[in-house]
């Protein structure tokens, strides 16, 4: 027997989740969503009079470990200053004891919503732009580890933003300022990895590299994100993270190479993969696929279609002149 209607339950739930923002400069506007660790709220920064997004630990997740993890996520993000990475403005603890951080509020569409209405060429160019901030993060020693369409936002002006760095890992060669990130355990491997539960599997099936799915935290490096980008390529081509029927062979080969089970068989960096996408868009051979002679001829003819048509038209005209001059 139900005592309360769904609407009432929903209302009570939102009241219970409502963060206590008293004593902060923020005023909650509405809930934007809920993830594994916390909730994201749209809020108003009452000092600067702008809308921001607050990521706040969920009430049931307010353990010290998760609080530290959220704070470290904010610290990692704060180190990654790039137009393609959502900027962090502030972090701290609310009056109710919950940890939060404040970031730019991104209005737009997630990748899965956005790509439904754009052609293949634009999709590939979009993928190149997704690779840029990730390559930047890799150069700073950060691996995202949770690439999926829902974590890529396309803004109103076409800007690409990589969201949700909650599973990010700092690699051993990170040139990032660890002191500001690691706090209490700067020299341990644990300090180089956001505490996602060592050995436990965190990520999104289908978009998660095999080494990540096996929980091999030590084996995770930038090639883990290469796998994720490969799965995104597949998703953009077929609507699913795997499977490549009816896809141009070169693109299918690129996707296969990026999502290879063994890391050495993958592209060794995102730049390498982006270079192949660029080559494909320019109509030149890609490293992932060896063409036969017929395929080469078709690709060249397609690439230089207009020039070939012009020269053939010229030759035809010349031939007609010769024929008419004989008569």
């Amino acid at each position: 027997m139900r005592w309360l209607s769904d609407a009432v339950v929903s209302r009570l739930q939102s009241e219970a989740d409502l963060p206590d923002l008293s004593g902060t400069r923020y005023r909650a506007v509405k809930s934007l969503g809920r993830g594994g660790m916390g909730m994201v709220w749209l809020a108003e920064d009452t000092v600067l009079r702008r809308r921001v997004a607050l990521k706040i630990l969920a009430p049931e997740n307010s353990s010290a470990d998760l609080a530290a993890r959220l704070l470290r996520e904010a610290q990692v993000l704060a180190q990654l200053e790039h137009p393609g990475i959502v900027p962090v403005h502030d972090a701290g603890t609310l009056a109710d004891g919950r940890t939060f951080y404040c970031m730019k509020y991104v209005e737009g569409q997630t990748l899965d919503q956005y790509i439904a209405r754009i052609p293949l060429r634009d999709r590939l160019q979009l993928l190149q732009r997704i690779a840029e901030p990730l390559a930047f993060a890799h150069s700073r020693g950060v691996v995202h580890r949770d690439l999926k369409p829902g974590n890529i936002m396309i803004g109103a002006f076409g800007e690409v933003l990589i969201m949700d760095w909650g599973l990010a890992k700092l690699t051993g060669s990170a040139p990032m300022e660890r002191n500001s990130c690691s706090g209490h355990a700067a020299n341990s491997e644990a300090a180089l990895t956001l505490p996602t539960g060592h050995g436990s599997v965190l990520g999104t099936p289908g978009f998660m590299a095999p080494e990540q799915a096996r929980g091999e935290v030590q084996a995770i490096d930038q090639r883990t994100d290469v796998f994720g980008l490969g799965a995104l390529l597949n998703f953009m081509l077929t609507g699913a993270p795997s499977g490549n029927s009816a896809v141009p062979k070169a693109l299918a080969a690129m996707s296969c190479k990026a999502t290879a089970s063994e890391k050495p068989a993958r592209y060794q960096s995102l730049q390498e993969m982006a270079e192949d996408i660029s080559k494909y868009l320019d109509g030149v051979p890609v490293s992932a696929y060896r063409e036969n002679l017929l395929e080469q001829a078709i690709r060249l003819a397609t690439r230089h279609q207009a020039a070939i048509v012009l020269v053939l038209a010229y030759l035809l005209m010349r031939l007609l002149f010769i024929l008419f001059s004989r008569h």
Partner: protein, 116 residues
């Protein structure tokens, strides 16, 4: 290959081809050498002008239009000097200009600016 060199080479090559086709016209066969030389020279001049234009202006439609215009104009001058064969000279001349105009916009490297 820079756009200017591409224009000169392509214009010259098409000019040679243009001139050689006069061999199929019995009336013009005796003067084939002069025709080939003149046609090649016209192609090179057209290619040079179109290549310089392509280096200055990055626009496929404008490049094609300019190429067509230069090709037609030079062909008109030759036809005018020969007092005839306007159609037979101007149509291929225009086509050569159009092809060189397209090619110099689409292909060929932009020459690097010289350092001081």
């Amino acid at each position: 290959m820079t756009k200017i060199v591409l224009g000169i080479v392509l214009g010259g090559a098409l000019g040679v081809l243009d001139g050689l086709t006069a061999w199929f016209t019995p009336a013009a066969r005796s003067g084939i050498v002069g025709i080939v030389i003149g046609s090649t020279f016209k192609g090179i001049v057209a290619g040079l002008l179109i290549g310089v234009f392509a280096r200055k202006v990055k626009s496929l439609p404008l490049g094609i239009a300019f190429g067509l215009g230069v090709g037609l104009f030079l062909a008109f001058l030759i036809a005018f000097l020969q007092h005839g064969y306007y159609f037979q000279i101007m149509l291929p001349g225009g086509m050569v200009g159009l092809i060189v105009g397209y090619a110099t916009q689409r292909y060929g490297a932009v020459a690097q600016a010289q350092r001081a």
